[in-house]
Symmetry: C2
Subunit: 575 residues, 2 copies
């Protein structure tokens, strides 16, 4: 066998956190593992979210036999709908009961008949999907129903850990399936693809169970209401909070759109259990004494539109922060969100609330494995080849160091880039091609895609604003009066006369330029005049103000009423 | 005595980090303590830096007897030049030799005669400044020449700590002046105004001396070049690096504009000592073996234009990162800078460098006191009244808690806001007025101020781009052809015909509107037409695209050649 039979390709989630998407292919068949989105950084003006470029998949859609989702976090599932919308015949979707429960409606909203595509699987089940022999494995993570998977090949298994931690005392008493991962290692793992999120954290990630004690301390000390912000998808966390509410005689309200939706759905599916009468409706919050109330809400990352941020700003009707409230932020800021989180904390304190947020108070536990757990996974599976995924380069390269420390040879470790196809067999592993890959920016309000060019223009708009120049000319390109200038987000000192002066200078310069063109026997088109205006005005403005606003020139060509009116719609008039 | 004689007013540095500026006044005289700037957050598009609004000082400039600068960091001195430029007769400037050494030229650049204003003071000196009896006190901070001050009043001293830490083993063996602060406490402190930066940090800030061991470990392990990023003003840190270079036989190059300028100036002034032949010019860097080279540079906060960021991006000629380099980031990211710092780390790792940055490696020590040190300062000075300064609200309120814990009564602690005048006497302290105060945004390239309105416009530009509509009309307001549309940073789906269609719809609508106006016997002015265009186009675009770009309408009024040409420059044509 010369050509390796199996290959893997990341379309996202490599050298970045977010938009996780992998392809595993063999012959002319492939399966996709995860279809996630990514949240934009602050400098991606107007971008709502990012998707992996899956044009390769669309082009080869007949090869796609299944999509497997490891768990229901947006960075693993948020690209599913756009993918299924663009596929002519979407393939079956395999996921746990929980994931299907949370995601299924999104799929049937595209097309009710797609209900047939939803395949609920259980951990330790083994399915033949096309030519792929896929086994599902339970892992612990911050959301229930998280799985890893093993694709059995004649050369050993290709193992995806999914997002995981080795929590020895999880809330649902279902630790990551040590035995199965060990058995895979014993039988031979060809390739391990493992979560790098916390590869820079020494030691162990604390158990979700340890958070119980942190919350007990906080509940014990709180005199007034307790308001807890966490991710709506962190159902283990929310279950614990519910248990503390029972223990301390508080009723609990769920506040914030995604929190309300998620907790309702999770109760339906049995993933969140509340004793009857514990849940509090929004209307009842103010009718109970403060020491009987707990509120679980969104906004732990300082997202401006989330409930906690609006409470902090005094713009949330259902709950106004009052002196004596204890606010617990049960999360760690994702890099880039620190300032927004601190802004909320400042505002909450100014309103008289006590705010508990430091991780040392034991009010949060990460859902991802730290260094010792990652080494344990490497020791259990003993892979021939290794790919760190789900991390920035700094985390991937730390994970690579850990793999080396456990005995994986350096040349068996691949720090891939998106689009790289790694072909693997017992004999060798190598990058054999680079397929089209990248990022697609989805604009605000989800109405369309944003091009790189527009993003660059927005960067310039942001830096120096926009300056508009408009001019009317006759059929010979002769200006009919001075140009008009107008601007947004751009100011020229305090000199209010500058626009007038610049317009005057421009007019003189145009007339000179026209003479030049006439000397060359040229009648300038509108485009000529606009491009000349752009260049000349840029120079004047930069000279006068040292700024570089985006300049938009618009030239109208006009005719005296009595002349031929048809020229008015000549081709140069087209935009 | 009914009216309290002394009052203090913060003009910045309260509920924020940055733009520190205090006024202390008595009768009709006042002195200013610090004159700092603030760095903008990422969403302040095009803002270069922020200044306190010191219009009150300009209005009462005859009262201003002196400016005292506690140390040479920009958040304490960066507003000095704009202040001195706007004062008719700037008052004397009091500061340490180091601070004057670094700042003096900026002052004499405004006016050479201002050299007479520079008053170099020594710690423990006591100066009569107008009616103020001011004593200067040595404090430890991350820059040399840092001072606090005591203004002696009949009711006890008003004490400013300045930025400080209680480092027991500073590099220059000059700890904060425990005795003087204790003596002030013994004699009676009326009011303490103390640094809150690290008020949320438990325990003690590690000594600058402990960083020595962190660097020794790093130097011992490094096989190739060592590149260290730190603040140019952290001269103690740089001195330590120089000592490690001597110890380990490496020569050192200073790279990056502010680093080169600062180290040159500090050597002139004797604040940085290099043995002859240790310093390496940029040209020599590549001629020495890597294990003989250390480079000290800027960019520890991921600032995009700083040397380290440019090295990481491969855009710095003097130094290209190579495999085997060890990069040490000797700083903690300021909240908001995390993402930029991590971006650099990823790029440096991809170029094959090793990157050391975690604080647990002992490669950085903060310059600000942590909780135990703040309590020590409170215990030494035993103030009657207390104001936490130099912090966001979350830090100020933690500092207030510490003060309460040391015995300051809660109603003797003031969480002020900028502009609030706190009048203090032995009998009482109260906020007696609020003077004009706020923030002034300085635009990029330092050429002017930016108004709130422009910032709001930039926010909209950023979100949805800009759409320009331009129309020519005759003297009756009748359109001469369809409007022209053009946009930047705004895209309308993939529908290339949309502009044409919208222009056509607009034209029809204008004509209807004109009939309406004619029915009312009205000839629309250009402003009427522009405002109508703005509203109508907004609606169409929002309907079609659900987006809200900034719309700029520009209407030209034109006349047939043969009509009266003077109207062309009529008042409606003015911009």
């Amino acid at each position: 066998m010369n050509t390796p039979a199996y290959s893997v390709i990341p379309l996202g989630g490599i050298r970045e956190i977010g938009k996780n998407m992998w392809l595993v292919s063999q012959g002319d068949e492939m399966i996709m593992v995860d279809a996630g989105l990514k949240f934009p950084s602050e400098d991606m003006y107007g971008v709502n979210h990012l998707l992996p470029d899956f044009s390769y998949v669309l082009e080869h859609q007949r090869q796609l036999k299944a999509v497997i989702l490891t768990h229901a976090h947006e960075d693993h599932v948020g690209a599913l709908v756009p993918l299924y919308e663009q596929l002519d015949h979407p393939p079956p979707l395999y996921a746990s009961e929980m994931t299907i429960g949370l995601l299924g409606e999104r799929v049937t909203d595209i097309n009710p008949q797609y209900a047939d595509l939803l395949q609920t699987i259980q951990p330790r089940e083994r399915h033949q999907i096309g030519s792929f022999d896929v086994e599902f494995l339970h892992v612990c993570h911050s959301i229930s129903g998280a799985i890893g998977l093993a694709i059995h090949t004649p050369d050993g298994a290709i193992v995806f850990t999914g997002d995981f931690k080795m929590d020895p005392t999880p809330i649902d008493q279902q630790p990551t399936d040590y035995f199965k991962f060990a058995q895979l290692g014993e039988d031979g793992v060809l390739l391990l693809i493992s979560d790098s999120t916390n590869a820079a954290n020494p030691g162990y990630t604390i158990s979700e169970q340890e958070v119980a004690q942190g919350f007990r301390n906080a509940f014990y000390r709180a005199k007034g209401r307790i308001i807890i912000a966490t991710f709506a998808s962190s159902l283990h966390r929310i279950q614990q909070i519910v248990q503390r509410c029972e223990e301390f005689g508080r009723r609990v309200a769920f506040v914030g759109r995604s929190m309300e939706r998620m907790t309702a759905r999770a109760q339906e599916l049995g993933y969140l259990k509340l004793p009857p009468g514990l849940e509090l409706s929004h209307d009842e919050i103010d009718s109970l004494p403060p020491e009987k109330v707990a509120i679980v809400t969104t906004g732990s990352q300082g997202e401006p539109m989330a409930a906690l941020s609006r409470m902090a700003a005094g713009r949330y009707n259902a709950v106004s922060i009052q002196a004596g409230d204890t606010v617990i932020i049960s999360a760690t800021p994702i890099p880039g969100n620190e300032r927004s989180v601190y802004k909320n904390i400042n505002l909450l304190l100014e309103r008289g609330a006590e705010v508990l947020h430091e991780s040392r108070l034991g009010l949060h536990a990460s859902g991802h494995a730290s260094q010792e757990e990652l080494k344990l996974m490497l020791n259990l599976t003993r892979p021939r080849y290794f790919i760190p995924t789900h991390g920035e380069y700094r985390q991937m390269s730390r994970h690579a160091d850990l793999a080396k420390a456990t005995g994986v040879p350096a040349d068996h470790i691949f720090l891939l880039d998106i689009g790289q196809r790694l072909s693997v067999s017992a004999a060798k592993a190598e990058v054999t091609e680079k397929i089209p890959s990248g990022v697609v920016m989805v604009a605000g309000h989800g109405t369309g895609y944003l091009e790189q060019k527009e993003l660059r223009e927005r960067h310039r708009l942001v830096k120096d604003g926009v300056l508009l120049v408009s001019l009317s000319v006759d059929v010979n390109g002769q200006p009919l009066g001075a140009p008009r200038l107008s601007s947004k987000g751009f100011i020229i000192d305090e000199d209010a006369n500058l626009y007038e002066e610049v317009a005057e200078r421009l007019l003189q310069a145009i007339e000179k330029q026209l003479e030049k063109w006439q000397g060359q026997d040229r009648v300038p088109t509108l485009k000529d005049t606009e491009s000349w205006l752009n260049d000349h005005l840029s120079r004047i403005i930069q000279q006068k103000t040292r700024r570089k606003p985006v300049i938009i020139p618009l030239v109208h060509q006009l005719h005296p009423h009595l002349e031929d009116a048809t020229e008015m719609t000549g081709e140069d008039e087209d935009v």
